[in-house]
């Protein structure tokens, strides 16, 4: 298969299992985000792909070739580190041409490629500047250009945008995604920022405790999370308890949800529903009775916090959809069955 395969990779540090039996296939040209809370093993997994850590068990296979035992410098990859790791004693141009120089490219080739890359990252004319004289965003781009200089088979990035401020980070996410699409290069980014993953990835891999919890396209992860951990980690969600009555109907907070069924034999489960899917109506027979306890008007959206049957439910809507909800108002909470995701406990 063309692309990257991780075959049952495990990494142990002493008694601690950082990465636990990870199996993943990444087709050529895919943009993958490894997403998870800190300590979930995502960086260790990336470092094993780069060859900077050796797996305790399992194999890394690139384009059908087992590269587990190939040392880092012979893997022909490009990697951007969290600290960027630009060489402080070299100029911008010399940083970018370093991998070419190592491979014995002629001075001419080096200059030509460096010029191309500088144009690609919108920094033409910066070749002779010292790295220390660049701004954070510019350094970021130089690190990216350096990693791409040899047109690597794999482009790896470890929390690449975490040092930038929020606005610049959002802009760089778009830029990075466009760059990857232009070059068609297999890319793996480690991040703990779910917005970053949603913006850039073809495939989001959510990790927790060293295991892959779910690997799917971003919108599927968002719409159909595999478990409560994923549902909670990606975006915000309402996690409610759901039980089955004798007739097999799903009961949430004492109210039967028409059209929603629990899998056969399951008496109790978790239900995840995104805030924007929760509708608020007048109190009625088909709705859960609730009281508005807080309204957060953010201008673009209105977040309504409803207390219903001992649980807190958040509902998000635009001001146009929900013009006058007041604190203390009695409402009926409607959970559309098509938006409810039932998760095994």
């Amino acid at each position: 298969m063309s692309g990257l395969s991780l075959n049952d990779i495990t990494k142990q540090f002493g008694d601690f299992t950082a990465v636990d039996d990870v199996r993943l296939d990444v087709p050529h040209g895919t943009f993958v985000c490894l997403l998870g809370p800190s300590g979930c093993g995502k960086t260790t997994l990336l470092r094993m792909i780069a060859g900077l850590e050796e797996p305790t068990a399992g194999a890394v296979v690139l384009d059908g070739k087992d590269i587990t035992a190939v040392p880092t410098h012979k893997r022909d990859l490009g990697m951007v580190f969290q600290s960027l790791a630009l060489f402080p004693h070299l100029s911008v141009g010399d940083n970018i041409s370093y991998p070419l120089r190592i491979r014995g490219a002629s001075r001419n080739e080096q200059n030509k490629r460096t010029e191309e890359l500088l144009t690609l990252i919108h920094l033409s004319g910066y070749a002779d500047r010292p790295v220390a004289k660049l701004s954070g965003g510019q350094r970021q781009r130089v690190a990216i250009a350096r990693a791409l200089a040899i047109s690597p088979k794999l482009f790896l990035l470890d929390e690449p945008l975490s040092a930038l401020d929020a606005k610049l980070r959002e802009a760089m996410q778009v830029e990075l995604r466009q760059l990857q699409q232009k070059l068609g290069i297999t890319t793996i980014v480690v991040t703990h920022d779910q917005r970053e993953a949603m913006t850039m990835a073809d495939l989001v891999v959510v990790m927790g405790n060293g295991k892959i919890r779910q690997a799917a396209p971003p919108i599927e992860i968002y719409r159909r999370p595999a478990d409560a951990f994923v549902a909670d980690f990606i975006g915000s969600t309402n996690l409610l308890e759901v039980t089955a009555d004798s007739a097999g109907r799903a009961i949430v907070l004492g109210q039967a949800i028409a059209g929603l069924k629990l899998p056969g034999g399951v008496g109790k489960a978790s239900l995840s529903i995104r805030p924007e899917d929760v509708h608020l109506d007048k109190p009625g027979k088909d709705a859960i009775d609730g009281t508005v306890i807080f309204v957060r008007d953010l201008g673009g959206t209105i977040e309504t916090f409803v207390e219903a049957g001992g649980a807190n439910i958040v509902s998000v809507a635009t001001p146009r959809e929900r013009p006058n909800v007041k604190q203390g108002q009695k409402v009926g909470v409607v959970l559309p069955p098509e938006s409810c995701v039932v998760l095994a406990l």
């Binding site: 880092t72 410098h73 893997r75 990697m79 580190f81 790791a85 060489f87 004693h89 491979r103």
Partner: protein
């Protein structure tokens, strides 16, 4: 960092204490030495105040020129050997666990507690024919019969490198500990083998530290006067040995002072040249 130039006299007050120390411990003794170097020797007593350049004139001979040249060369070789050994060693040390590092550093510090005399005699025993390491080599079958490895240039060099090595490591250690380890990893992901990455990235990133360490060991080695006498032949004696000889055994303080002044000026010139070359390369 932007600094404003000092405006009033009060802005210079932080300089008073260092200036005082420099005056008391450097300017006054060094001026005295320069003064004495122009005095005339009095065989009956010590010296007589005068202004003669005989002491410097006597110095301008082939013999002293050779000794000066040898002293500078020895100090340079010691400095290069120390940094060449200590830099990779310290680098590997910083990769070890905290505990291993502490044990090594404590051992190195304990070497510093040995005096030059003890180091000299320890090495002269180790290099001797009767009790030296060559007996060990014979026992291992590497040599047919034990040999004396001293007196000789190798013995002098070994002793001086041994003496200066702990200082070298202790000076390099903080800089190497602070070095960002991802720089090396980055070089490896970009296609450099570990050794190449070390030479391409670690060494240049710490160039200023290396130059400073070279100068420190050089100056340290230049002042060594016991080890060349214990471990070397007379042709391995450095200018410091001759200064000691003139000052203590020949009671010719003015001539010793003249040689000392000359030695200080030569080493200052060499240090200045190193810094100048370093700055030019940095700018280029």
């Amino acid at each position: 960092m932007r600094r404003e130039p000092p405006r009033s006299l009060a802005d210079y007050t932080p300089l008073v204490f260092p200036a005082l120390m420099l005056t008391v411990f450097f300017v006054i003794p060094f001026s005295t030495m320069i003064m004495v170097s122009f005095f005339r020797r009095d065989p009956a007593g010590f010296f007589k105040p005068d202004f003669v350049v005989d002491n410097y004139a006597r110095f301008l001979s082939l013999f002293f020129g050779n000794v000066l040249g040898f002293s500078l060369m020895l100090a340079i070789i010691v400095a290069l050997c120390c940094v060449a050994i200590a830099f990779p060693f310290t680098y590997l040390l910083t990769k070890q666990s905290r505990k291993v590092q502490t044990v090594w550093l404590v051992c190195l510090l304990s070497v510093l507690s040995l005096s030059e005399v003890i180091i000299g005699f320890a090495w002269s025993t180790l290099f001797s024919r009767t009790a030296g390491i060559t007996n060990l080599f014979v026992w291992l079958g590497l040599m047919t019969e034990p040999q004396a490895l001293l007196p000789g240039f190798g013995a002098v060099l070994t002793g001086m490198v041994y003496q200066a090595l702990p200082y070298t490591i202790l000076v390099l250690y903080p800089a190497l500990v602070r070095l960002d380890p991802t720089l090396l990893e980055a070089a490896r992901t970009l296609g450099a083998s570990p050794i190449r990455a070390f030479l391409n990235v670690v060494v240049p990133a710490l160039r200023n530290t290396i130059v400073a360490t070279l100068i420190m060991v050089f100056v340290f080695a230049l002042g060594s006067y016991l080890l060349p006498q214990i471990l070397g032949r007379p042709q391995h004696w450095t200018l410091s040995v001759l200064i000691t000889d003139q000052a203590i055994y020949q009671s010719n303080i003015p001539f010793a002072a003249a040689m000392a002044v000359f030695l200080v000026l030569m080493s200052l010139a060499l240090v200045g040249l190193t810094l100048l070359v370093g700055r030019r390369e940095n700018a280029g």
